[in-house]
């Protein structure tokens, strides 16, 4: 492509290196994103090549769509609980691992075997959500063959004649899914927080200990502020995951693309897929995609603002 001299062929080199990545990215990512906005104003079915411009009809239909509104509510519930529960448990364990050991002259130490714990906790992170869906589908089975029901029956907490229908119980289903997300996520965020904790210089802890701070005080006054950046990043990532939830809901719950029983576990992504691939309402599904985008952006902005604190340099 280019030849020997530095300045010569520079432009060609730059263009040559950018053209393929840009072309792929434009074709398969950006252009579909842009098109979605356009299609969301049409009554396109996806089947016929023709469609009409219907203005904001899809959006006003969305507002009246009970199923979509329920799904939106579920996403918002998950959005509050997924990050909170995951981050709290992960912080708790990260602190245990790094400061739960016996105190020695070197100040607070990590527990013995913390490396082994980290290896075990992190493992769910490398498993695909599809594997988790099958695994927890079996755990939540509604007869004694399910791990949960089998265990509770053995303990005498559940009547074997009437085991709990975890994923078919309208009040339980969403929380059952939440547990899977937390089970999956804690290990990763624990390792993340743990790495951040270890990058905090030891003398800061020592100084706090010398000043007579207890462990709880050290955690809230020293560790947490220094970890704030990681907590904030985690909240955004977990928030985005809570807006999605497609794999677990569509594979673990009843109904076409999941969402059952009776729409009690519906999330926006499953409603979108059902409208697109099952009802053939491509334009309507596009409007849902736009709503999901707007919400994701608003929520990341809110998270970043709400959790903004003074930076601590070290």
């Amino acid at each position: 492509m280019s030849h020997v001299v530095n300045s010569k062929g520079r432009g060609g080199f730059i263009a040559g290196f950018l053209i393929l990545p840009l072309a792929l990215y434009l074709t398969f990512v950006i252009w579909p994103y842009v098109q979605t906005f356009g299609y969301s104003f049409t009554n396109w079915t996806g089947q016929s090549p023709t469609f009409d411009f219907v203005g904001l009809d899809n959006y006003s239909a969305l507002l009246k769509d009970e199923v979509f509104r329920g799904a939106l509510l579920h996403n918002l519930l998950l959005l509050v609980f997924v990050p909170t529960v995951t981050i709290l448990i992960a912080l708790f364990f990260a602190f245990m691992l790094n400061a739960g050991g016996r105190s020695g002259a070197g100040g607070v130490q990590g527990v013995a075997g913390s490396a082994l714990y980290k290896v075990i906790y992190f493992f769910p992170q490398v498993l695909s959500l599809a594997i988790l869906a099958v695994l927890f589908g079996a755990v939540y089975r509604s007869d004694e063959g399910g791990l949960l029901n089998g265990f509770l029956t053995k303990l005498g907490l559940v009547d074997p004649a009437h085991p709990i229908e975890w994923l078919n119980e309208p009040n339980f289903v969403l929380w059952c899914l939440l547990l899977v997300v937390v089970w999956h996520g804690v290990g990763f965020y624990l390792v993340l927080f743990s790495a951040a904790m270890q990058s905090v210089p030891k003398d800061i802890y020592e100084a706090a200990l010398l000043d007579g701070a207890g462990r709880a005080q050290t955690f809230f006054k020293v560790t947490l502020p220094l970890l704030w950046d990681s907590v904030q990043t985690s909240a955004v990532y977990l928030g985005i995951a809570a807006m999605d939830m497609f794999v677990l809901v569509s594979t673990m719950t009843s109904g076409q693309f999941g969402g059952g029983p009776d729409h009690h576990s519906e999330v926006m992504a499953t409603v979108l897929m059902r409208n697109f691939l099952y009802f053939g309402k491509a334009g309507y599904a596009c409007a849902m995609g736009v709503v999901m985008l707007v919400l994701t952006l608003i929520l990341s902005a809110i998270t970043l603002r709400a959790t903004r604190r003074e930076h601590v340099e070290f």
Binding site: W31, P32, G100, G104, L129, M243
Partner: protein, 310 residues
Amino acid sequence: MTTVVKAPGEAAAEKKRASATGQPAGKRKSGSDGMVLNVFSHGFLAVWGILIVLPLIWLVLGSFKTDVQIGESALSWPANWHFDAFPRAWNKGIGSYFANTLIVMVFSVPLTMLLGSMAAYVLARYPFRGNRPIYYFFVSGAMFPVFLALVPLFFMVKRLDMLNTYQGLVLVYVAYSMPFTVFFMHSFFRTLPTAVHEAAVIDGASHTRIFFQVMLPMAKPGLISVGIFNVLGQWNQYILPSVLMQPQTGSDPERYMLTQGLIQLQYQMGYETDLPVLFAGVTIAMIPMLVVYLSFQRQIQAGLTSATLK
């Protein structure tokens, strides 16, 4: 659960250390407080460890049971160790789903790394008009949910006649991995020293040559981090293949990815009531991940955390 008994020698050593710091009273207090906390934290940590491991072991055990035994009680040990569920699962499709996933990733991962690094390199080290806008343009893609693109993407791939083809999925995987790869490699290439680059220029190496023979080898740690991220991301991808990889006509063969295939197997085994096959299928899908994870767990943990924090 786990009780930690302090060895006498250890306790004495601690006392010695404590007195050496000149603060025996304060140290002793926090020491005993630490003891309680230590047992307490080991307890909690062990419980969570069991909560992670138990369901996985239980599932693997299920592939050695019979369907009847699985249904009767969750807490049974395999009565006779049946191994036949594994070959059955392999023949039910797991083998071909595995092959399909490998075929796609053999092309998509190297292509992602190559194209992503090329774009990131040029954007990181060559100032030119439009550099910043192009960079932000690349990176912004990471902020949007994939659902935003799904409907038009389906028709785009259909128009290219690439639905249910390997090459179609490869291109889509590469495109969707681009934002993160460019973002991460961009920050990595910026940290590399310019002196080496200048020396290579003086030696008369071309831009392309410098990239492949000097910069890319120097960026190896970064490439490994992003590589891990992309391998896990593409291996575990479910939404894109479930929209793009469906047989288009009656004669079009199934080219399901492993994740998609497992869910397919779940439906199928629900009808055929052969859960051991499903559990064996999941076990087969889990084993390579477990092996790769245990051999590279340090790099994987470090890679994923640095990839997230950058």
